[in-house]
Structure formats: structure tokens, C-alpha cells
Symmetry: D2
Subunit: 340 residues, 4 copies
């Protein structure tokens, strides 16, 4: 393996807003025992990263901070005594560096990349040896970089919280990174997905990816009523609620008695009337990405079926601000990726 | 068995409000195959019954309606071919006449006594043979009559939704029928209960029943902060949220990361900010009483430990309006019962 | 609806063995409240039915007994007050007449058709109104008749016990009715199925139905070793163990650490060394068909994906003994059905 | 903190049998990043340790090996950058050094102390920083040293596999370390325990610890029949099967339809007829100790109720061979501990 360079470039957030991103030079860190150094080849963007960039103070973050949680690349160095992964391995980082398996706790939340700890929008990233997963062979670095946050979240929601089974009906709101990956997973689970959007072209793409039904909520403002019609008045078994103004009340109307809702929405605004939760015995579960185990399981499922995540657009490392602006414009279907 | 009388008295709700309760005479019904006739010996009151009496129109109920879901008594006649339970058996009715086991669905909800179907505040009640459970020997009719709604709800919340285990901490709001039964069950589960009330005498009774800690929310308006202190800043593992103005936001503050909340509150008012659910990965589950299986399991647990439900006051059948008024006054600790 | 005939033909088991089956004439029974009369249009055979025919005394059954648990047909009469299903509805009977949902208990087992209670190999069958399910539109009576025992068992094993998820690997032994249905369900679940058989033509059919890998255990006596190879030495996540001499020891060898095995095998013979269960932290769950809820869920999944059960051969009602003989010969792939 | 000594004493297994234990002198190891050095104050013995000593070759272990999985002591040094636990913290080691939470896998099994890796019967032990748990205040080092294997196993079985609830009945075989801890936990769970032994004095001690019923299997050879009688013919809900010649067949007879059995038995001998598993829809789960999360939960439960593990006898470090011999003699009730 070639000698590592002494310095690397990294995007740093120095204040609030996309304009406060600065391309800085930093020394390449050296991995301690239990750590690996990853040469970053791709990083994807999530709304959470955009929120961080827009308002780091709301989260009480220390600046400057390297943003972004998601990266894929290859291991270029490992700490003393670290046997796995070996240098050369293609890996993606885990959103939470310390959530191997089992249940979340406050300690897990202290290990979120690009928030509680330094992110990965840099030429090299120092990660825990047990905080990465090997990339399935059929995926490129760019594709793998879409998974740590959006992919694992979709898996956690559908497979974990929803325990969605064949023949069940799921409601997916919009066509962002989580919803599009959830659409692909719904197909693997044998479930029927109803997808909403305000854009008919996106709905057409959703149908091409296997959506059972689609609803344009610009045309059908009462989209919850439409979902009830599509399910013969029963309501869907599961909603992946990504938020947005006032969507939760409609989701509660669209779900069946005894149904369940996974709530991930950084976009969520507005208040919720809890009587709907009671009246229909609904379960609402907040979801914050997921564990390394879920990532491994996701990768195995994608590999078994050669599923490729949907990338809407790719940007060069130097174009990171343009990538964040594209995310803010919200015209994408699936994921936006920065490639190095 | 003595010959059945031809007529019985029954309380009928003829309009909105306690004043609209009328004592009527009705023919004693005859059990069809699969049905049993129960001579009612006691009926307990729940807030849901009071809500029904106060505003039957909000629920779209047909009047006149016999109110109340909870009764205990003895089987006096069975339909042709019905082998179990035998005449003479001491039984309590199941809140839902058609929820044997497993998950709730819309059909179950059509079988709620004293709402979707005729209630039991009458001298005799016609129930499904598989819609009753045998009463544990150590319980009186009055004690058993406290269980179908409040007891089963408490069990469903703690054992089902909460899956509360030994050493866990649970938060119980107030000292109504569900919370007091939950306090008793928390002891059986090895959990530590924190109980809130505005009345120090009730808190003293709660401690006598095994509460680990108590909080007077009149003195400590920020009772959620107090709960966090009592749990070393971690928050409780589980909240049984019975509702009340604005309690849910505080419950979300008082629960730990990854904790769970069972929501039963007919008292619930106000709106909920869903960001707290996401931020802490909390699960919120609406609970609507429970299945016959849960009732059987509850009875077995109460019998194994000789636990007796707490009855605050007992009223004669003719005093039913006074009993409802006492519930409305909300001065009780535990349950109010009407005995026949 | 046409007037019902007064008499019907029914196969009766009068002793041990296929030769002891007699075609008898019986009065058509009349449905009591809560019951329905079904005009039987098809009945499928299961090994359990063959075992019953071969040795009814081992099970302590009262003779004569109408054999068979599985039927599909149409409702021709309903008991007084029975609203659902309406006459004319296409239905299949539930193996257990009294297992609506939730967990099995000793009472459930007393309601098994064609064993604890009279079976359905007759022109009409009297069933509980809540002991039938509506047949999906895309299925014929013959196809629907394959589901009550084998279909529900496969669902219970894969979806219930196995909780098999996308990307997981499952091992299916042989190509009988349960294994072939499980193969079809594995596809809906996104799982990869390994199928064993001693017949290459059956393995070819299995691959055509979506098997990921196949193993001819006549050629590869150490088929467990082969399964380990196919799973990179890890072992499969789940085994549907239908039994046979000595298969369980091999299944335990072929399953991964922490894996699970559903055990249904009426064919099971031989002893098991429990140390393998401990050493690998395996879960072994006995499965006895399943609940009506599972049947409803199965039907929904089959309907959503237009899955049709595999019927190897169909026999006329009068040919029932030939059908049992064909089952005994064990040359089939999928199910054998008797049509009326 | 005082300077560490350069050398320590450790028991080494140099061949097969208690006689092959040698007291050796070794250099005190230095903790790398992510590691802690623990001054061992107590170590308890488990049958698994005795099996290892008796026949290390059967397990393919490299000799010399320091035996024993269980220790408690205080942290005396930590690796660079290791923040928690701090020096001076009272800790117990985790049986598996790499099982934080969630499900077991083959990797976990490679981290078993005193088997796959070096054990802890030495004056100092090098452990992973996330491979220890803090000791509850109310426990001595000797008491805490009983927990890593037997305590966590009992918790995993009753709380994890059994999900034992209040009012349920559990069957505990014998009065070894796991069974006695399980008896104490059964009390916290509100369950009723039936305990078997061949020694009336041990059964008396079991009753003093809260056993609901006891059976002397020397007097009642058909102890499964007796258990059925004690449960009104229903059978127990859960069996913690620790093994022994032929016990599993009786346990299967003593468990209810749909019941569950946790199988831990290093003592297990003999074969199992799987038809009993199927006939009664029983679940049999192999259990191999448990995760760090379970240990934390166990500790919290013990602390909440001030439960103290039962220690039968304590030995000096130099008496380790006598301690192993006492375990082999099997006259104890609860645990045997070596104190330093």
C-alpha cells in the first residue's frame, strides 16, 4: 500500500449556512488500536446534514465541524493489533460509531458522525474498526455511500419497527432518499407500497421501481382519504412518516386500526392530536437511523437481490456547497452524492 | 337453579348527562347457543362510561343504551349446546365480547360493551359464552367487577406494551383505577413505580401500596424534571399515560431514550410535538383495553399473589347516578363500584 | 339458493388402513347459530390425514370418523342469527375450528378437523362461522383446498417462527406440500431457499419455482455439509424441518449459530442430541398448523402476488383411496387434491 | 494509584484434570487502548470451568490456559485514551468480551473467557473496557463474581427466552448456581417456581428462598408427573433445563402446550425424542450465557431489590484445586467462590 499523504482536504462548517462551509487542509490522522483510516471515495447527503449546516447552534455543536455522516471508501491504514477490516477493504461507515446491535441508548447517540462527533466530508476519515461494514460487491462507492443513514433508516423502519410482511400495505411519503430506499425494500418484503408526491414524473419513477399505487397530493389534497379508498377503507398497515407540515395527522387517518407508524422526520412540523393514536390503537415509534447489525442485514438483502440504490445526481468534492443547495431545492428523487 | 324471573331492572341512558339515566324494566333475555345469561352482582365505573353518559351523541350511539362495560356475577342460564361456563360459575364479562387473543382489529371494536353494544348496568346481562372469564376464588364480585376495563388495560400496558421487567422504572400518572391497578402490577413485575398526584394523602396510599417514589404535581409543577432527578437524569423506562391537559409533553420529557409510552387517556387533551418522539426514539402505543387472553393472564397473576383491587367506594344499584357523580368529582383512589 | 338435499355421501374411516375407508350415506346436518354448512368442492390430503387413516387407534380416535382437515367450497346455509359469511360465499375451512388468533393452548387442539373432531371428506361439511375464511378470488376451490393445513403451516413457520427476512437463507427439506408452499413464500419474503430432494426432476421444478440452490441428498449423503458450503460455512438462518429419519441432526449442523428451526414433521423419527441445540444457541419450535389470523394473512399475501399453490394431481371424490395411496407413494411435488 | 507490581500469580491448566492445575508466575500485562487491567478479588466456578479443566482437549484449547470466566475486582490501570471505567471502579468481567447487545453470532463465541481466550483465575486480568460492568453497591466482590456466567445465564433464560410473567409457573432443575439465581429472579418476576432436588435440606433452603413447590426426585422418580399434578394437569409455562441424564424428556412432559424450555445444560446427556416438541408446540432454545446488556439489566434488578446471590462456600486463591473438587462433588447449593 502506498505511503499515506501527510495532509488532506476537509470541508469544515465554520458557522450557520451553506456559505459557511470552508475547504480546509488538515493533517491526516493516524489510527489508534481499534481504529481504521478510510480513504473516502464518496459521501451522500441527508436532510439531517443540511439541518446541521443551516443551524449548527440549534444542536449545540462545536465549530468548526466536518459535516456529513455517510461515506464509503477503502481502508488505507489500521491501528496496532487491529485485524479486521484489513487494509484495502471496501467499507462504508456506520452512522453511529458505537451501536453494534440491540437497543439504542444515550451512549449510542454520542457517537453520531457529523454531529456529536466529527463527520466524514473529507479526503480521509478516521473510524472505529467496528464502526464500518464491508460494501457488497455489486455496489459502487457512490451507491454504498447512500446507505449509512437513509438505507439503514429505511431498513430499521420497515423490517424492525414495521415488521412488514408479505401482502401488507405500506405508505411512503415523498421520494427522498429514505422513501425511495423503503420502496425498494418493500418490494423485497412482498409488501405493496403507496407513494405520495407532488410531482407526477416522480410518481412515474416510483411506479417503475415497483410502487403499487401512487397519489399526487397536489391534486388530491385529502391524500389520506385517497389512501383509505385504495385500501378498501381499511387503511395501510404501516406508514413511514418522514414528516412535513401536518402530514402526521393524515398518516394517522390513513393507517389501519392496530397499525404502526415509524417517525423519522427531520421535516416534521406541527402538532399531533394524540386521540387518534388511542382511538385506533396505533403504535408510533421514533426511529433514529439504526445499528451496525441492521446495516449488515441490509447489505445482505441488497446483495441477494442485486438492488442498487437510486442516485439522482453526483457532485465533485469541490462542489459540496452546490450539492447542499441541490438538497435544499428538494427536486431530487432518491439520493445526492459527492464523489472523490 | 331457581327459575329466572321474567323481568329485570336496567339503567338506560336516554339522553346526554347523568340526569338522563333512567331505571327501566325490561324482559329478561334468553341465551341463544353460544350465549350465557349472567345475574349481575357488581358493576364498576370507568371514565369511558362517564364520557358515554355525558355525551353519547359524540360517539354516535343509539339511545336508549344500557351503560357500563364492567360486570361480575354468576351464570344463571346458558344457550343450547353451550358447555362452558356451567350455570353457577362466577364470571366477569370481557370488555370486548369478541377479542379472544392476538391483535385488535376493527371487528373487535364493534363488540365493546356499553358502547358499540348494550352494556351491563342491569340485573341480568346476556354475554357470549366465550366473552366471560371465571373469577379467581380470592376475589369478591365487587373486586372482580373492577377488572374488565381498568385491570385488563393496566395489564395490557405494563405486560404487553411495556414488557416491563424487574429493575425497570415506570411512571404512573394519578391514582385512578388504571393507575392504581398498574401500581399493584408493577410490584408483581419487580418494577419501581413513580406515582404522581395532586393530593398528598393519595400519594401516601400509593406508597403504602408499594410506590417507590411519589411526586405531588401541585407542589412540583415541573414534575417531569423531578422524575428525571429521581432516575439520575436517565428518565423512566415506561410511562402509562392516562392523559390530562398537557401531560404527554411532560411524559415524553420524563421517559428515557428508547423508552416506551402506553397511551390510554380518555382524559387526553391538547396537542403533541412529535419531535420529542423522534429525538429520543420513543415508542408511543395507543391501548384500548385488551383481549380475553390478557384477562385470563391477569386473573392468574392476581390469584398467585392474592392481590385485591382497590375499591374506594361502593354504591347500591339504585344509586347509580350518585356513583357517576362521584366519578365526575374525581376524588377517588382506585375504583368505584355499584353492587347489586 | 336451491333447497339442500336431505342426504350426502361421506368417506368414513372404519378401521386402520386405506382399505378401511368406506363411502357412506349420511343425513345433511343443519347449522346451529354460529355455524355454517359448506358444500365441499375440494379437499386436499396431508400426511397427517394419511397417518390418521393408517393408524387411527394410535391417536385414540372414535370410529367411524370422516377423515381430512382441508376443504374448500361454498356456504349453502347458515345458522340462525349468523350474519357472516353469507350463503354463496366461497370459503375454506380452518384446520383448528377454535384458534382465532394469538397463542395455541390445549383447547385449540380439541378443535382439529379430521382428528379431534369430524373431518371434511364429505359432500357437505358443518363448520363454525368463525372457523372458515373467504377464498381469494384468483384461487380455484382445488387451489384453496391446499391451504388450511400445508399453507398455514408454511406461513406459521416462515413468517411466525422464522420471522424470515430479506437476504436470509432458508433450508427446505423435500418437495411435499408444506415445503413447496414454503418455497413460494420464501420468494415473497425476499429469502433465498435451498431445497433438498432425492429426485433431480423435482429439484428442477423447485428451481423453476425460485429455489436459489438445490441439493440432491441421494448424491450428496452429507447434505448438511453441502448446505454449509453453499452458505460460506455460516449455515442457514432457518430450517423448516419436516422430519424423516435422522434429518434433524443434519439440520442442526446446517443451521447457523443463533439460527432457528421449525419442527413440523409427522415424518420425524429417531432421536436428537440436544447438545447441538446448546452449542449453537439454536431455537427449535414445534409448530402445529396455525390460527385463522395466519390463514387470513396468508391469503392476503397470495392474493397480492397472485401466487397459486402447486397441485400435482387431482382425484375424483370416488377415488379417495387412490388419492391416499398416491400420497403414500410419495412421488408428488406439492399437493394432491380430491375434487367434487 | 499505587504502582503496579511487575509480576502476578495465575493458575494455569497444563493438562487434563484438576491435578493438572499449576500456580504460575506471569508478568502483569499492560492495557492497550480500549483495555483495562483488573485486580481480581474473587472468581466463581461454573460447571463449564470444571469441564474445561477435566478435558481441555475436547474443546481444542491451547495449553497452558488460565481457567475461569468469572471475576470481580477493581480497575487498576486503563489503556491510553480509555475514559470509562475509571481506575478504582469496582467491576465484574463479561463472560463474552465481545457481546454488547443483540443477537449472538460466531464472532461472539470467539470471545469467551477461560475458553476461546485466556481466563481470569489470576491476580490480575486484562479485559476489554467494554467487556466489564460496574458492580452494584450492595454486592461484595465475591457476590458479584457469581454473576458473569450463572447470573447472566439465569437472566437470559427467564427474562429473555422465557419472557416469564407474573402468575406463570417455572420449573427449575436442581440447586446449582444457575437454578438458585433463577429461583431468586423468578420471585422478582412474580412467577411461581417449582424446584427439584434429591436432597430435602436443599429443598428446604429453596423454599426459604421463595420456591412455591419442591419435588424430591429421589422419592418421586416420576417427577414430571408430580409437576403436572402441581399445575392442575396443565404443565409449567417454562423450564430452565440444566441437563442431566434423561431430564429433557421429563421436562417436555412437564411443560404445557405452547410452553418453552431454555436449554443450558453442560450436564445434558442422552437423546431427545422430537415428537414431544411437535405434539405440544413447545419451543426449545439453546442458551449460551448472554450479552453485556443482560448483565447490566440483571445488576439493575438485583440492586433495585437488594438481592444477594447465594454463596455456598468460599476458598482462598491457593485452594483453587479444592474449590474445583468441591464443585465436582456437587454438594453445594448456589455458588462456590475463590477469593483473593
Amino acid at each position: 500500500m502506498a505511503k499515506l499523504p501527510a495532509h488532506m482536504r476537509a470541508w469544515e462548517l465554520t458557522g450557520a449556512g451553506i456559505d459557511a462551509l470552508r475547504l480546509a487542509e488538515r493533517p491526516v490522522p493516524e489510527p489508534a488500536p481499534g481504529e481504521v483510516l478510510v480513504r473516502v471515495r464518496a459521501s451522500s447527503l441527508n436532510y439531517r446534514d443540511l439541518s446541521t449546516v443551516r443551524d449548527p447552534h440549534a444542536r449545540g455543536l462545536q465549530l468548526p465541524l466536518v459535516p456529513n455522516s455517510d461515506c464509503a471508501g477503502e481502508v488505507v491504514a489500521v491501528g496496532a493489533g487491529t485485524e479486521s477490516p484489513a487494509p484495502g477493504t471496501r467499507v462504508a461507515g456506520c452512522f453511529f460509531q458505537r451501536w453494534a446491535d440491540g437497543r439504542i441508548d444515550a451512549g449510542v447517540m454520542e457517537s453520531a458522525l457529523g454531529g456529536a462527533i466529527e463527520g466524514v466530508l473529507s479526503e480521509s476519515a478516521l473510524l472505529r474498526a467496528d464502526g464500518v461494514v464491508e460494501i457488497p460487491e455489486h455496489l459502487s462507492f457512490a451507491q454504498a455511500a447512500t446507505l449509512p443513514c437513509a438505507g439503514v433508516t429505511a431498513w430499521h423502519c420497515l423490517v424492525g419497527v414495521g415488521a412488514v410482511g408479505p401482502g401488507e400495505t405500506v405508505l411512503l411519503l415523498g421520494t427522498g432518499g429514505v422513501s425511495v430506499m423503503a420502496l425498494q425494500l418493500a418490494g423485497l418484503l412482498g409488501a405493496r407500497a403507496i407513494v405520495t408526491s407532488s410531482d407526477d414524473r416522480k410518481l412515474e419513477r416510483a411506479r417503475a421501481l415497483g410502487a403499487w399505487q401512487t397519489v399526487n397530493y397536489r391534486n388530491e389534497r385529502e391524500w389520506d382519504t385517497r389512501v383509505l379508498e385504495l385500501t378498501a377503507g381499511q387503511g395501510v398497515d404501516f406508514v413511514l412518516e418522514v414528516g412535513g407540515a401536518g402530514t402526521l395527522a393524515r398518516s394517522l387517518n390513513a393507517v389501519r386500526t392496530g397499525g404502526r407508524i415509524a417517525l423519522i422526520g427531520v421535516l416534521t412540523r406541527g402538532q399531533l392530536d394524540p386521540t387518534a393514536i388511542m382511538r385506533k390503537s396505533v403504535g408510533v415509534q421514533g426511529v433514529y437511523v439504526g445499528s451496525r447489525r441492521m446495516f449488515l442485514d441490509l447489505n445482505r438483502a441488497l446483495a441477494a437481490h442485486s438492488v442498487e440504490p437510486v442516485i439522482e445526481a453526483s457532485f465533485a468534492f469541490e462542489q459540496a456547497p452546490e450539492a447542499f443547495q441541490a438538497l435544499a431545492d428538494a427536486r431530487h428523487f432518491g439520493k445526492l452524492v459527492i464523489e472523490l
